[in-house]
Symmetry: C2
């Protein structure tokens, strides 16, 4: 399905659950996240028992045009694999010099960011907080709360997604539960090239 | 004040009134809207008695860089000048081939759009509805409800605002109250070049 950006139109999002009745979401289940979590044993054991929906988001398939905008909602669900919170795969933009904004509408989460130069950062989001993901930063949403973490996002139409770099190298940092709250720790498996 | 897009950061918006405690808004009062409303007599009479805040919005002054994004909240307040609903001035983007998205978070309003080719359209917005303003379309927000009409907006950092064309030519259409609801009528003062 493609959203037509050539004519004025509107689309409805449910501000409570993020899902649009007008447009389907892309869904990522636990089974789609092989290799993404640090504790592989916990991952395999969980997958034997259940295959929960970890997150879903809109892919509007707008034209790859620098004058258009891609947008949608992202809903990341609560849970953990071992000590590590449920999260999105995360991605760089293929056109690396393009930013993205995420406005949190519900829940509590983190945006974890890092760039190829080795700078990294995270921002905590609760309803009304918007994170600015600068140019060149990979970004991953992490649900550190107990309800769905809902964000509206917007980026340049031609920015594209590069998932492969993250799938291969991982992130420098992990977000785990420690003493009842979240902690940012080094990723022991992170591969420096 | 400038929002720094070069480093990861977040900003808080109040989802109930749109105003950020972190960043000031630009404000447009009735006195800033001379010549924008059809009924000039009603405008002058109203201005003698009061000078209400008609709308306010964030100007983040992000870099004029095609890889950055401008964003913020727009709050348009309810009221009428004669039969015509309170509205924003409206603008084209200076870089005409750039789109904009507006996500309604509160209230009830219209987005009135027209392009230089003579196409025009409007979309009605209530909470959760997002309008896609295509490339080349001027756009104006109109509050047709009774409470503040609140929208989150996002567009390309270098798009820029061209207010002059609208101030000189006006819009092809007006939005007025008729029999207790809104009606779209031709603008008798619209200047065809």
């Amino acid at each position: 399905m493609k959203f037509d950006t050539s004519i004025p139109s509107n689309i409805l999002f449910d501000l409570l659950n993020g899902i649009s009745p007008d447009f389907p979401t892309s869904k990522r289940f636990l089974s789609n996240m092989k290799g993404m979590f640090s504790d592989e044993k916990a991952y395999e054991e969980m997958l034997k028992k259940e295959n929960p929906l970890m997150y879903e988001f809109h892919e509007m398939n707008v034209p790859e045009d620098a004058g258009d905008l891609a947008f949608g909602m992202s809903a990341a669900y609560p849970g953990k694999v071992g000590d590590e919170y449920f999260m999105t795969k995360g991605h760089f933009h293929t056109v690396l010099e393009t930013a993205e904004v995420y406005l949190c509408l519900k829940g509590r989460g983190l945006m974890l960011m890092e760039n190829p130069e080795g700078d990294w950062a995270y921002e905590e989001l609760t309803p009304g907080r918007m994170v600015y993901v600068p140019q060149r930063y990979a970004h991953r949403s992490i649900n550190v709360g107990t309800e769905p973490f809902l964000q509206f996002f917007c980026f340049r139409g031609d920015a594209g997604h590069d998932y492969g770099t993250i799938e291969t190298k991982g992130y420098r940092k992990l977000v785990v539960e420690k003493n009842g709250t979240y902690a940012i720790i080094d990723n022991p498996k992170w591969k420096q090239e």
